[in-house]
């Protein structure tokens, strides 16, 4: 049982980082970023290249991923999403744009980094083994802690920095924020960059454990969607909660339902649908998105 909880916590921490970026972009601009998973994959590949090809320390790889993805995010917002949002009649149109970006990033990743699974050497060797009650490799613990630190840092930034406050105001009421003198364009761009950066960081963190491959993008996006739905779309705390809940559900579900075989995920997904049908705004979201 202890093992299951620890697994769930670790999974939850990594999920939460992925979900955070997605929910930030959604809350600021009402864009459901289909390309989030692709950004995550790109972040993983960048860290891999820096660490395994250029033989630089892991932390350099992480920072490079973060910076590169932040720049990509900012450019995407400035040159693609902003003009389209300004001119389209229905804001859902950005979904097509986001999907186009997802395809595009997939294609670029394939051409630059190839089709193979990539991974970097273990950061720390060894496994924590507490009487076989809890077995956890040290590198997983490190990544889990880093992920939680990242989440904490992000919350502090959103709560106390000037930019964080501006973005929260934007998320609450775009019009009101604008009237109060918040530079909407500027903070939308920063927010998008920050969201993309979080995706890149998540990719950089996980490449040390699970590695990265081209195919992870799409499914990761969908998983992240589910997390923000559980917690409530566009709510930071909701995304974190959603990440941990999904992680826990998988960990517990896989153990409890193991003997029923193929239906484990069917049960998880079906119960998710039932939950959302009963409580559409998720746990802490605003109703009706």
């Amino acid at each position: 049982m202890e093992q299951i909880v620890v697994n769930g916590l670790y999974l939850g921490a990594q999920y939460a980082v992925i979900a955070l970026g997605l929910t930030l972009i959604f809350s600021l601009m009402n864009v459901l970023n289909f390309a989030h998973g692709q950004m995550y994959v790109l972040g993983g590949f960048i860290t891999y290249t820096v660490v395994s090809q250029f033989h630089l320390p892991y932390i350099v790889g992480l920072v490079t991923s973060a910076v590169a993805l932040a720049v990509i995010g900012a450019l995407l917002e400035r040159f693609l999403f902003r003009p389209v949002i300004a001119r389209s009649k229905r804001e859902e149109s950005t979904m097509l744009l986001a999907a186009g970006v997802a395809f595009f990033l997939d294609a670029v990743t394939l051409l630059i980094f190839g089709e193979k699974q990539r991974g970097i050497p273990k950061i720390i060797n060894g496994v924590l083994n507490w009487n076989f009650i809890i077995v956890m490799p040290y590198d997983r613990i490190l990544i889990g802690v880093l992920a939680i630190a990242l989440i904490a840092g992000f919350i502090v930034f959103m709560q106390f920095s000037r930019s964080g406050r501006a973005m929260r105001a934007l998320a609450q009421d775009r019009m009101a924020a604008q009237l109060m003198g918040v530079d909407v364009d500027r903070y939308s761009m920063i927010g998008f960059a920050l969201g993309a950066m979080l995706a890149g960081l998540a990719g950089g963190l996980l490449v040390s454990i699970t590695g990265v491959n081209l195919g992870m993008g799409g499914p990761t996006s969908i998983k992240a969607f589910m997390m923000i739905m559980i917690g409530g779309a566009g709510v930071i705390s909701g995304a974190i909660a959603g990440g941990f809940i999904l992680g826990m559900m998988e960990s517990v579900g896989l153990t409890v339902l193991a003997s029923y075989g193929d239906i484990t995920y069917l049960v998880i997904f079906a119960s998710l649908m039932v939950f959302l049908a009963i409580r559409p705004q998720g746990m802490m979201g605003k109703p009706w998105g």
Partner: protein
């Protein structure tokens, strides 16, 4: 703007390369061989190693002046179609091949695609070489599909038998991704294990293809303490993670799979933990690779920057097509002759040392010769490369 300029450059590069390709080999008549499979998205690795194997072999042949079939010398051109692992697109790809006048196609890579293209292939007289295992594709009345590799229901008994006799395993556990191909392979593996008198202690656990942490998946499996853990139909991307999780959870037994893997991927993803991992490969281990195989690997590496060990088995399909056509040149436009030739065809295997032969097999599994004979080479991973564990033959 960034994207526009990138687009222009790429478009120009594409056009130029197409033009160059046409010009370089204009002298000989062209023989087109098709490929329909997945080269983008999640499963890109499968089709990409296929396409690149074909392109490498074609380049080797063309650089040497072309392939002499009958009294004509042909330049080999590979026509590829990316079906994105979508059976609906696989059909479109096969139609495209028919339109190009192609009669021999390698692919598709997965069960659903291979089943979906069957009507098109039969209507348009196309022989295709899928990398999919369902027997219904190869058993009569089906007759246009030729299995391009060793099926897991053929390799599994050989591997389990060897491990039972040599390593004394008694219990087996299976874990598979929640998708058609791996699940079918798992069922085949369970059957083979039971037939050998092994005890199957766990076979119900599955995982989603997008799993990023396999610890919860493996926990219930490893509780049953199997002697052998089989990763049924495991994708090259998931194999190192599964191995790593199993070892880190303290699992000491053997781990094996019946699909081809890549040594570099295993090394990067699991490092030392992957030592002892048993998988099915082609013929590139140093003990048995011929000079032709070494040249193939070198050319491949030169063309694409990095070799993929999955290509060891994937080089064979094109070799078989061309050699069979050589044996009966009429078959270039007549698949009836090709089918007739398949029953008696035999040629030396250029990729393996010794007196190995190429021939069509499958009488036992399908009741007709609808499989290419690829040597069943079982490898064991050690410190970044594969060693040969055993070599067997399929009939």
């Amino acid at each position: 703007m960034k994207i526009r300029s990138l687009l222009t450059t790429t478009a120009m590069a594409a056009v130029t390369s197409l033009a160059l390709f046409g010009a370089a080999y204009a002298a000989n008549p062209v023989l087109k061989i098709g490929f329909v499979g997945v080269t983008s998205g999640p499963a890109a690795a499968w089709g990409t190693s296929n396409v690149r194997s074909m392109q490498t072999l074609a380049k080797m042949i063309n650089d040497a002046g072309g392939e002499k079939i009958g009294d004509k010398t042909y330049t080999i051109q590979i026509v590829t179609f990316d079906d994105q692992k979508d059976p609906k697109l696989s059909i479109a790809g096969m139609e495209k091949m028919a339109q190009e006048g192609i009669h021999y196609v390698v692919g598709p890579n997965v069960d659903d695609g291979a089943a979906a293209v069957r009507p098109v292939a039969e209507q348009n007289n196309i022989i295709y070489f899928p990398y999919a295992f369902p027997k219904s594709l190869y058993v009569k009345p089906a007759s246009n599909a030729v299995l391009g590799m060793v099926a897991n229901y053929q390799s599994a008994p050989a591997i389990y038998k060897y491990l039972k006799e040599k390593k004394g395993i008694k219990t087996v556990a299976f874990v598979a991704a929640n998708e058609s191909d791996p699940l079918s392979q798992r069922d085949g593996g369970v059957e083979a294990a039971k037939a050998l008198g092994l005890k199957v202690v766990s076979s119900d656990v599955t995982y989603q293809v997008d799993t990023t942490d396999f610890t919860p998946v493996l926990l219930p499996v490893l509780k049953t303490q199997p002697d052998l853990l089989v990763l049924s139909g495991v994708a090259p991307a998931a194999a190192p993670q599964l191995i790593r999780s199993a070892r880190e959870l303290g699992y000491k037994g053997l781990i094996s799979t019946e699909t081809a893997q890549d040594a570099k991927v295993l090394q990067e993803g699991a490092g030392k933990l992957a030592n002892g991992f048993i998988s099915v490969g082609g013929a590139s281990t140093p003990e048995i690779a011929s000079d032709q195989m070494k040249k193939f690997v070198a050319t491949y590496t030169k063309m694409f920057g990095e070799y993929n060990d999955e290509s060891n088995t994937k080089v064979y399909a094109l070799e078989y097509i061309l050699d069979t056509l050589k044996a009966d040149p009429v078959a270039i436009n007549d698949i009836k002759s090709f089918k007739a030739e398949m029953d008696k065809f035999t040629a030396p295997n250029p990729y393996m040392k010794g007196n190995e032969k190429l021939s069509y097999v499958g009488m036992t599994s399908f009741g007709q010769k609808r499989q290419i004979s690829v040597p069943l080479v079982v490898n064991v991973f050690k410190d970044g490369k594969f060693d040969t564990l055993l070599v067997a033959r399929v009939d």
